[in-house]
């Protein structure tokens, strides 16, 4: 059981970096890159579990990969549309429009 705890604690900073980037970045593409970092942390943890006991962890990892890849595809579509409408992908620029 201690192996599981170590695996989670080692990968937790990577997940934290991803979540921080998701919340703190202004550039939409950087946000999507942060999502990928957090996703990689999740999949890495699942890979360790898979090495510890059985192969189900890898299957779960592939499912997560599919779902988040779909979300990222939608995110890129939103980024393209932002570029068309606002001529920028800075999410603060979107917020500023409301105040005017």
């Amino acid at each position: 059981m201690i192996d599981v705890l170590v695996a989670i604690l080692v990968v937790l900073p990577a997940f934290g970096i991803g979540i921080f980037g998701l919340l703190a970045r202004r550039h939409f593409i950087r946000i999507i890159i942060s999502v990928e970092i957090a996703l990689n942390a999740v999949i890495l943890t699942l890979g360790v579990f898979s090495a510890l006991n059985g192969t189900m962890g890898e299957a779960i990892g592939i499912l997560f990969l599919f779902i988040i890849a779909m979300e990222v595809a939608i995110g890129l579509a939103i980024a393209i549309q932002m570029d068309k409408v606002f001529q920028t992908v800075d999410i603060y620029a979107v917020r500023k429009i409301k105040d005017e």
Binding site: I8, L23, A41, K98
Partner: protein, 476 residues
């Protein structure tokens, strides 16, 4: 012993999600040929079939176990299904051709069909796939008017919080899986007392945070106001009912099912109570200073997430009210947003002044609007009163924390009457212009749904016991 069912029976029992999924494909194809009326009628037929089968399965006395107990259809899930389908009905009836021509209907049916599967799933992986699959089409639904800056702004906020929720959910499942070696609810609830407590609590909190974002519990609600305002109003009907009901009922499923073993630890208990307390107080106070109808109703729907989260206090005693509360909330909230749609279109802004003279020019709309708002406020004799009364009463009877929370909920419910009554006063006041208010044209379906909602909100008051749910069954 599990009653084994063969494939045909499985499809029969899962008829409601299947029919919505198949019709979403058919409606998408019909939409290609620009037959918008046909597409709408087909969507109505699929929703009606799903509603009828849900009501028919209610007559079954025992729960149905499918796929080795990974999917269980019990009374809890059927009542929540009915609440979800009602919200989709109202959302569909307020849509016009401008939205239907942009493929809103297939996305709506697809999202609803996966939401139905999420309620009956008894495995964290199926739950994850269904919940995320149900949220994915709503990003596209919010961005239907993608050339409008406000709609796009709403989409950006919704997307960032939505993907945050997805990541937290995924990591929560990872931690739970690593700790317990399984994602099945039955095994989790067996293993959790003898597991590594730190990891179980971490996983549980991550999953609750993720579902809290979807059901707009207060520190996590910030996306909801702008998204509800910026989205097309017909879509706001769908978001404020379906997504929220999905989030709250999945949390109820988790805290009474697999994670009920964690409930005796006070840290978890007080985290959930703090969510409930904040969600009761903050939106009700913030709604007092709003001057836009859509924002006000968005805050009111967050406040109702607070009333629903009273079940966190002592879920085993109070969960049976949840189904009735969800159904009354679903009807009242969707009618109020639908009237905003009729008055000021799909746009983002709808001032209180646009309501002036409504009682004189369009009495039916004004009556339906007033009754839905009074029901949301909890004024007798409307159904919202009975739902709030039973919920507060059972919360107060549960425990000492429950008494104080029920009291706060009662005070906040009193505060909410103020801002609802201001809106009704605007509707009954004289118009600013020369007295020639425009007569809003109502299509047949909207006429029907407004009358139906008035009747239901009065009649349902007297029959709460038909919609009481049982504690969700998690293992055969």
């Amino acid at each position: 012993m599990v009653n084994l069912v063969n494939l045909e029976n499985t499809i029969f029992y899962l008829f409601a999600p299947f029919i919505l999924f198949i019709f979403s494909l058919i409606v998408a194809i019909v939409g290609l040929f620009k037959k918008y009326l046909v597409a709408k009628i087909l969507s109505y037929i699929s929703l009606l079939l799903a509603l009828i089968t849900s009501i028919y399965f209610l007559s079954y006395s025992s729960a149905l176990f499918l796929f080795n107990g990974k999917i269980i259809i019990d009374k809890f899930s059927l009542i929540v299904w009915i609440a979800l389908i009602i919200g989709a009905f109202f959302s569909l009836s307020s849509m016009e051709n401008d939205l239907i021509s942009r493929e809103a209907l297939p996305l709506l049916l697809l999202s609803l069909s996966l939401a139905l599967i999420a309620i009956i799933s008894r495995d964290l992986l199926i739950l994850f796939l269904a919940v995320e699959g149900s949220i994915l089409p709503t990003y596209a639904l919010v961005a239907q008017f993608k050339k409008e800056p406000f709609s796009l702004e709403a989409t950006v906020k919704y997307f960032i919080f939505g993907i945050l929720a997805t990541l937290l959910f995924a990591y929560g499942i990872t931690v739970i899986f690593g700790n317990l070696g399984s994602t099945s609810f039955a095994i989790i609830s067996d293993k959790i007392p003898n597991s590594n407590l730190l990891l179980s609590v971490l996983g549980f909190i991550l999953i609750i945070l993720s579902l809290g974002i979807k059901s707009t519990l207060v520190p996590l609600h910030t996306w909801a106001i702008d998204t509800y305002q910026g989205a097309p109003t017909s879509i706001t009907v769908f978001l404020s009912t379906t997504s929220k009901i999905l989030g709250i009922s999945v949390i109820a499923l988790l805290i009474t099912g697999p994670f009920s073993g964690l409930y005796k630890f006070t840290t978890i208990y007080y985290i959930l109570v703090a969510f409930a307390l904040l969600t009761l107080v903050v939106p009700n106070i913030a709604a007092l200073i709003q001057r836009d109808l859509k924002r006000l109703l968005a805050y009111s729907s967050i406040a109702h997430a607070g009333y629903m989260s009273l079940i966190f206090v002592f879920p085993f005693q109070t969960i049976y009210i949840l189904g009735y509360y969800l159904i009354t909330y679903s009807i009242a909230k969707s009618v109020s947003f639908m009237v905003v749609k009729i008055i000021s279109g799909e746009g983002s802004y709808s001032s209180y002044d646009s309501l002036r003279g409504l009682f004189k020019s369009n009495p039916l709309i004004a009556f339906a609007f007033s009754i839905s708002l009074l029901s949301l406020a909890g004024i007798p004799p409307f159904a919202g009163f009975m739902a709030k009364f039973l919920l507060f009463l059972s919360t107060a009877l549960s425990s000492s924390v429950g008494i104080s929370l029920a009291l706060i909920a009662l005070i906040m419910s009193g505060v909410s009457v103020y801002y609802y009554v201001i809106v009704i006063r605007f509707a009954s006041s004289k118009s600013l212009g020369n007295g020639n208010e425009k007569l809003l044209n109502l299509s047949f379906e909207k006429y029907l749904f407004l009358i139906l909602s008035i009747v239901l909100l009065i009649v349902l008051t007297f029959f709460p016991n038909y919609f009481f749910v049982s504690i969700p069954i998690i293992s055969p």
